[in-house]
């Protein structure tokens, strides 16, 4: 990853930390700025997990309200504000998806029509997050080394909460291969996030 992209990301992280401090002081403009920065990433994430625009919107609402009400729960030493937001969003989206599926099962309906935002993966993305624009491009370039299967396994696991055993059954691939491919995919993800930091 290019050094300027990492520097840009570090600058964004510092700004985010400052924004969160302002949120803790009940500054609504800071909350609005966080929304403007990350709604464009969190909303597609929620959409990918829940498969519904309505649910994705609801989850994003809940995440931002959580940030407003419980921002004191964020600990900078454990990661960036962005990582916190993404983790929160994914967790709430998975919860929403499971509860919706459970409800549908009880009502005897199918899994419903899911919006497959993954289909858009290979299309050029409209960059709505100006602050992370360069960084996002660098991440994409770094993750080109991921094989289709590795990326598919990571996505199914991350967005749909599939276990490795589930994946093995669903894709008819030996469990050992699933584990090895996922481990390798994660290694590549980690390299993408840290390789620049290792450079002198």
């Amino acid at each position: 990853m290019q050094r300027n992209a990492i520097v840009q990301r570090q600058q964004v992280d510092r700004e985010d930390a400052e924004l969160l401090k302002r949120v803790q002081r009940s500054d609504q403009r800071a909350l609005a700025t966080l929304y403007d920065r990350y709604a464009g990433v969190l909303y597609p994430l929620n959409l990918r997990v829940t498969g519904s625009h309505e649910a994705a919107e609801e989850v994003l609402h809940d995440v931002l309200v959580h940030v407003w009400e419980k921002s004191a729960g964020y600990a900078p030493q454990n990661g960036s504000v962005y990582a916190w937001l993404v983790s929160l969003s994914r967790s709430k989206a998975l919860e929403k998806m499971r509860s919706t599926n459970q409800k549908r099962k009880q009502e005897g309906e199918g899994s419903g029509q899911r919006v497959n935002s993954n289909a858009d993966l290979k299309q050029p993305a409209p960059e709505t997050i100006i602050a992370l624009k360069g960084y996002t491009e660098e991440v994409r370039n770094s993750l080109k080394s991921l094989s289709k299967l590795e990326l598919r396994l990571l996505e199914l696991s991350y967005y749909e909460g599939q276990s490795q055993s589930d994946l093995a059954r669903m894709l008819r691939i030996p469990l050992g291969t699933i584990k090895a491919k996922m481990r390798r995919g994660i290694q590549k993800l980690r390299q993408a996030s840290t390789e620049e930091a290792k450079r002198p």
């Binding site: 729960g73 709505t128 991440v139 991350y158 909460g161 840290t194």
Partner: protein, 270 residues
């Protein structure tokens, strides 16, 4: 923990981050994290940061217009919670841990101090108020007692057959004087004395009736130093009133004596 066991725990980091540990393993793994294993903590932190890259690969899309305003409206209508540690979830959904934010605490400390000062001021005010009330109540009681004494004295003054026995200080120049007003038609009487100081501790003044050269105790009483003109209503049950020769006031031990034993202050003959 042995190296191979720690390695086994490291194997759990990935399914933990992806939320795929069964409850038993999850509990065991979280208990392990609580021990402060640096290896696993570092591994987890790296995994969390790495997985947050995945959403950047999705096609970015802004939510429908109106959501931003709804969130901000909700924020303006709902106050933030007090900073406190978020309970770690069963799956580590977010790298959140208890944290302190001193820069956001100063006004809470200031508010707490102001609150304490207000409470102390209020307590002091209440204390003063209670003290004043008690003092006022005592004054009212004293006034009521004196009014009652005067009413009783007036009733005796209004009696048809009133006798008076003057009392004088036994020692010349003592300045003690007094009188007993006695309603001959009833047992009611009024004692008035002036010039007596408050009795020493453990002693009280005692009024005696003298009849056939014998002393009969009537009543013990206290002199309040702030009340120079002392009045006390009495009931004199003396049988044949004409046998009464006079009255004497002495200082006796608290509880009274059957015969005069202390210093004689006032004496009066009929």
């Amino acid at each position: 923990m042995k190296t191979e066991e720690r390695h086994a725990q490291l194997e759990l980091c990935i399914p933990y981050v992806f939320g795929r540990l069964n409850p038993g393993n999850r509990k065991q793994f979280e208990a392990h994290l609580v021990t402060g294993c640096e290896l696993c903590t570092r591994e987890l932190s790296g995994l969390y940061e790495a997985t947050t890259l995945l959403p950047l690969l999705l096609r970015q899309e802004m939510p429908p217009t109106g959501l931003r305003q709804r969130i901000l409206s909700r924020a303006s209508s709902k106050k933030q919670e007090q900073p406190r540690a978020e309970r770690p979830s069963t799956q580590r959904e977010a790298p959140v841990t208890p944290s302190t934010h001193p820069e956001s605490h100063w006004y809470r400390y200031a508010a707490a101090i102001i609150g304490i000062l207000l409470i102390l001021a209020l307590a002091f005010f209440v204390y003063q108020l209670v003290g004043t009330t008690v003092s006022q109540e005592k004054k009212i009681t004293d006034l009521q007692t004196r009014i009652q004494q005067k009413d009783e004295a007036l009733a005796i003054f209004g009696a048809q057959q009133l006798e008076m026995v003057s009392l004088a200080g036994v020692e010349p120049g003592s300045g003690f004087y007094g009188k007993i007003l006695w309603d001959s038609s009833s047992s009611n009487a009024l004692l008035q004395v002036a010039g007596l100081a408050a009795a020493p501790a453990g002693e009280r003044y005692q009024l005696w009736m003298v009849k056939e050269q014998k002393y009969f105790p009537i009543v013990q009483f206290d002199i309040d130093s702030v009340q120079p003109n002392f009045l006390k209503t009495l009931t004199l049950s003396v049988g044949e009133k004409r046998e009464v020769e006079g009255f004497t006031i002495t200082l006796e031990p608290n509880g009274g004596s059957t015969q005069p034993s202390g210093r004689v202050f006032l004496r009066g003959a009929r």
